[in-house]
Amino acid sequence: MKFKPLALAATLVTLGAASFATPAMAQEQYIPLLSYRTGAYAPNGIPWANGKQDYLKYVNANGGVNGVKIAYEECETGYATDKGVECYERLKGRGASSFDPQSTGITFALTDKAPIDKIPLITLGYGLAASQDGGVFKWNFPLMGSYWTAADILIQHLGEKEGGLDKLKGKKIALVYHDSPFGKEPIPLLQKRAEMHGFQLNLLPVTAPGVEQKATWLQVRRDRPDYVLLWGWGVMNSTALKEAVATGFPREKMYGV
């Protein structure tokens, strides 16, 4: 009896899947887009999702890639891992040629599934830093560098500004980061850099989603670091800027990803 609604839904779902599984025709590549236009990270998710779609539209308008048009479909994850997995399972059956999970957490969850389904995971400037080495996760394709690249660029820039990486010696750099796998990714690299160049790295975690930063910025005010690296996402960034103003930390000394 319990299964009555389930079975009903089952038929519905299979029906739905059957009628909409656009077969990947030769002239079309189907790309599912996981996006998050809702939830705590929507302020970042909305423009990102829009941008990607605009780009795909632009590619299609110019005749597609070598004449192959790109069909795409959006699936809302709300930045939640289980929603993302559901989207993946739902859309992969429709002939997905690649997935762009748009979230570090979802990437983690899909990394084990992708090799089985033989679907490439394309991570644009996020995802597992370790996947830079193609041998580790064979179906993960990070484009545009990873968080490590980003962190390294920041340090290099600071070095330049100071007039050489060696000038960073004795400086204090605070990393205000989102307390999640996403925010923790750059830490190993920064620690290594700190060892190499002899600057002091202060780690200041901000609890997700990042609206509560008073204590963090009070610590920044106490420690008076030379630079603050802001590793935030979504609402955390705007909050950080407001709190920085409220504590009087100079904006030109803040660097965000």
């Binding site: 705590a40 929507a42 975690p205 008073k214 009070l218 005010r221 705007s238």
Partner: protein, 309 residues
Amino acid sequence: MGFFLETLFGGLMAGMLYSLVALGFVLIYKASGVFNFAQGAMVLFAALAMARFAEWFPKWFGFESLLLANLLAFVAAMAMMVVLAWAIERFCLSKLVNQEGITLLMATLGIAYFLDGFGQTLFGSDIYSINVGMPKDPAFVMESMFEGGVMISKEDLVAAAVSALLVIVLALFFQKTKTGRALRAVADDHQAAQSIGIPLNRIWVIVWSVAGFAALIAGIIWGSKLGVQFTLSLVALKALPVVILGGLTSVPGAIIGGLIIGVGEKLSEIYIGPMLGGGIEIWFAYVLALGFLLLRPQGLFGEKIIDRV
């Protein structure tokens, strides 16, 4: 020492804001025995309405005055909260009279889901700003005593004053007026209140409107500090330890509880946090509240839980 004071003030101010949200909880709990999880969603909804109306009205009606826009937006947002209160009573609470606390709690969670979706459908899910002309720059006091002085955000001071005023008014309302007494009676016993002719539906609309008003004030203050976005509804979670610490039924409890939690979590984050790796304020508040509860199960100022068998 100067830094300690700064942390202390920072905590007090943060606590004041928690109190504002907690106040909404207490009001509704006092008057309808409903533990209103939708309070956070109400704060978000009110703030979104305020922010967006203030943005839209000048465009629609073609005027430029910021003051006028804010005033109109405030009125419109408050009107929405009253309509909301009415709708909640009409479509939800009136059908759930005499249900157990947990059923009502779940219903408010349902309302919270609805409001989150509804608010964002109407008003969008990006970050919006509320500008009611609160001073943004920090002030420095006691510069003679400590090097660099003690920094206080002027915005926080204004917020604290507004909250304090709101609390005094509400406390008077509950203790001194006929409606206030009826509200407390309803909280104690729906049925008995009904039997002596207190109209439950009207009382509930009143109290949810008042809670909506508190939510709007809280939303404006938080929103003008940090911007209005979906996450605002999560401030409800920050207010929960405040409510249990202060006692579910006590208006002054919400205030004192808010201050204790605010100060406690900031001090713990800064002085204990680094030892544990930071980020402890989120649970510290709860553990603090839990500790208090073991000593006084009804919270600091809550009415004694009276069980007669």
